[in-house]
């Protein structure tokens, strides 16, 4: 295969927008994707296939990691987002909230708790706003002032919540989602399926990069997509990358390009860099793999007696469709760090298998079975539940990092060794938000309110292992996401985040990918 202008590794939120933007400008682009393409039709709404057998986790030794949460070993296939064309965007819930100005300056605005290693961003909202707008117009966010797209239909529970929250002085607004509320070109509108988050979309309404950026990049004729290509090594000479080596059904292959862009996910990009040279590729700062962040969860579930709260099956829409910014800056001066997060209201995850499994454990972790379990499940479904998804700033610190394990995969590469734990301040803020949400729900007359005791993060949103910054001493990437050490190496997944943020990160990753495409092409023309 000939030499390409650009080689993009990964086809998710970080890689696909850049590939599309550059292919549209006439550059030859090669996309290498580790996973296979997955047809959304057929059994896409199959909870057993998708959530139990997890087709988006690489099979065999490729999907195994050595993971420790709070120094305790956890499931070795944890922390995968979506190993397929489109990456995690295939199964995302599509909550697209932009960062605010203070998210870019957490250190200046909120200070630095002891042990935290977060940094202010070298760019601000003014630099990113035009690209947020581009994503909003191109991908389709509902509701949107730019395109005039209406919000997705909300369930009556949303109106109930809004009324109750406003009495407490908490404002809720319709959740902006990367899901089309109206049909557009080859993408259908939302079918309001109860199985949305964690499942691929059958109508193409969800803004996965497979149905949008990748699809259009391939139509330009300048883009080649190769699936099943697992990049195992980066070859470099001096300050340039010369090629990448992949393993796949065709055996070992080598691909050459002028410029390489890596967007595998924060964990896999760090692993690849660390595996590619003895001291780590682009790692003169020693920061590759450090400062891993997620979002801090603080799940609160309120259970209402049937009839006192709108039932999930009552309306056509299964989405509550409300969120609040109220907790993005916590109004408590006694906290050492007051950066909070956005809170999204939703019905609990619809997968009945996972629900039954979680109900089969009591508080002590013992199994409940037989008629007791049957009664418990029946009781759960006789109530109406509403829960929260919170996206609180996860402080980077020495407790969260990616390194290399002594264990190796089938090809002899060291596995990723992931340590993660919440910084005490993150834990404190999660408790504060959880307590407030519990008190808020209590005013609505539920039968019970339950704060999820385990702050174990789901890990879908992972950031920060190759942070960007002005100084080569403290960062891996420059403000344009090019490595300080290598002149033709860019990273566009969320590895570049130098701090945690208070919103879901997918919107920002896509916007930044387009910004890097502009910088890479050396042009500021509007796409």
């Amino acid at each position: 295969m000939g030499k390409f202008d650009i080689c993009v590794v990964g086809s998710g939120a970080g890689g696909a927008p850049l590939a599309w933007a550059l292919a549209k400008r006439g550059l030859s682009v090669l996309i290498l994707e580790k996973g296979r393409d997955f047809d959304a039709k057929g059994r896409s709404k199959d909870e057993l296939n998708l959530c139990t057998e997890s087709p988006f986790i690489p099979k065999g030794s490729g999907g195994i990691r050595e993971i420790y949460y709070e120094n305790q070993r956890v499931l070795e296939t944890h922390l995968w987002m979506g190993c397929t064309v489109g990456g995690g965007t295939r199964t995302m819930s599509g909550f697209f909230l932009p960062m605010n100005q203070k998210d870019f300056t957490p250190r200046t605005s909120f200070g630095t708790p002891q042990g935290a290693t977060h940094q202010d961003w070298p760019i601000g909202l003014t630099e990113l706003q035009p690209y947020y707008n581009q994503v909003e117009k191109y991908l389709g966010i509902s509701p949107s002032k730019l395109t005039g797209a209406p919000a997705l239909k909300g369930h009556p529970a949303g109106a109930f919540l809004t009324a109750q929250c406003s009495q407490l002085g908490i404002t809720t607004t319709p959740t902006p989602r990367a899901i089309l509320s109206q049909e557009r070109e080859k993408r259908g509108s939302c079918s309001y399926s109860g199985l949305c988050g964690s499942y691929p979309c059958t109508t193409g309404a969800k803004g996965s990069t497979r149905d949008s950026y990748i699809h259009d990049a391939l139509l330009t004729g300048n883009c080649t997509l190769l699936t099943g290509k697992d990049v195992i090594k980066i070859n470099s000479k001096g300050d340039r990358i010369t090629s990448v080596e992949t393993i796949g059904p065709g055996g070992l292959e080598r691909f050459c390009a002028d410029t390489f862009v890596f967007a595998l996910s924060a964990i896999e990009t760090a692993r690849l860099f660390l595996n590619s040279q003895s001291s780590g590729l682009g790692n003169s700062s020693g920061q590759v793999g450090k400062n891993l962040t997620f979002t801090v969860p603080s799940e609160v579930t309120a259970s209402f007696k049937a009839g006192t709260f709108p039932d999930p099956t009552a309306g056509k829409s299964p989405f509550v469709q409300r969120y609040t910014d109220f907790f993005r800056e916590l109004p408590y001066p006694q906290l050492s760090y007051r950066h909070g997060g956005s809170v999204i209201f939703l019905f609990p995850h619809a997968n009945p298998i996972n629900r039954a499994k979680s109900l089969s454990y009591d508080a002590k972790g013992q199994r409940i079975i037989g008629r007791d379990l049957q009664k418990r499940i029946k009781e759960w479904y006789s109530q109406v539940h509403i829960t929260t998804d919170t996206f609180i700033d996860y402080l980077p610190w020495q407790g969260s990092s990616v390194g290399l394990s002594k264990k190796r995969d089938l090809f002899g590469r060291p596995l990723a060794k992931v340590h993660y734990a919440l910084h005490p301040s993150s834990r404190e803020r999660a408790s504060v938000v959880g307590y407030n949400l519990r008190e808020m729900f209590k005013t609505m007359g539920p039968e019970s309110v339950h704060i999820h005791p385990n702050l174990f993060t789901a890990g879908e949103l992972q950031h920060g292992t190759c942070r960007f910054g002005d100084s080569p001493k403290y960062s891996v990437l420059n403000p344009n996401c090019r490595t300080h050490d290598l002149k033709n190496c860019y990273v566009t997944d969320a590895s570049f985040f130098p701090s945690g943020i208070s919103v879901p990160s997918t919107f920002t990753i896509m916007a930044n990918s387009l910004r890097v495409a502009d910088a890479l092409h050396g042009s500021k023309e509007q796409l």
């Binding site: 709404k45 199959d46 909870e47 057993l48 139990t52 057998e53 939302c190 079918s191 309001y192 399926s193 109860g194 199985l195 059958t202 109508t203 039932d311 999930p312 099956t313 299964p318 619809a350 009945p352 298998i353 629900r355 039954a356 499994k357 089969s360 013992q366 199994r367 079975i369 037989g370 008629r371 379990l373 049957q374 499940i377 029946k378 479904y381 006789s382």
Partner: protein
């Protein structure tokens, strides 16, 4: 018995003594590579009934057969064999009757104790796997075979109707 016959008999006895455990292990190994036999499947289904009432009738056996057709992993087969072979004598010893004739209370109690490792710590992992498989069978889509006529979904306030799931 002459010297020759004696030595021959001694050698044969030694060979049998040495080889029998290996032969048994080989037999067990070969067994574990296969899907559960009819009788073993019956034991598994009976235990599953103790995990979630009604699962036997709703098609747990059919679910498991289909799963084994899809899932070629040796680990799963080994776990199923282990539980199907080792539980009947344990049940017999504890309750004085065969597992086939077990009452619901006994079954629930037995599976509960197995899951905590109180009966045999070596079977704890396998028992918890069986509980998970039973719940997967009960709450997966009917075409997987274990939730005949959406029996268990109907008990969940019709939340998982095809209209609700597919929009």
């Amino acid at each position: 018995m002459n010297r020759r016959s004696f030595l021959l008999a001694l050698a044969s006895a030694t060979a049998v003594g040495i080889l029998t455990p290996y032969h048994r292990k080989l037999h067990q190994f070969n067994q574990s590579r296969q899907n559960p036999l009819r009788k073993q499947m019956y034991i598994l289904t009976t235990l599953a009934e103790g995990v979630y009432p009604g699962i036997q009738e709703a098609g747990f056996e059919s679910f498991l057969t289909r799963k084994l057709r899809r899932d070629k992993s040796q680990k799963l087969r080994n776990q199923l064999h282990k539980i199907a072979i080792k539980t009947p004598p344990l049940f017999q010893k504890r309750y004085g009757s065969s597992i086939e004739a077990a009452k619901r209370d006994q079954l629930e109690d037995f599976v509960q104790l197995l899951s905590t490792g109180k009966i045999d710590p070596k079977l704890k992992k396998e028992c918890n796997r069986l509980i998970d498989l039973t719940l997967e069978s009960a709450f997966s889509a009917p075409y997987h075979g274990g939730n005949l006529n959406s029996t268990f979904w109907r008990g969940t306030n019709t939340l998982f109707s095809p209209e609700w799931m597919n929009g």
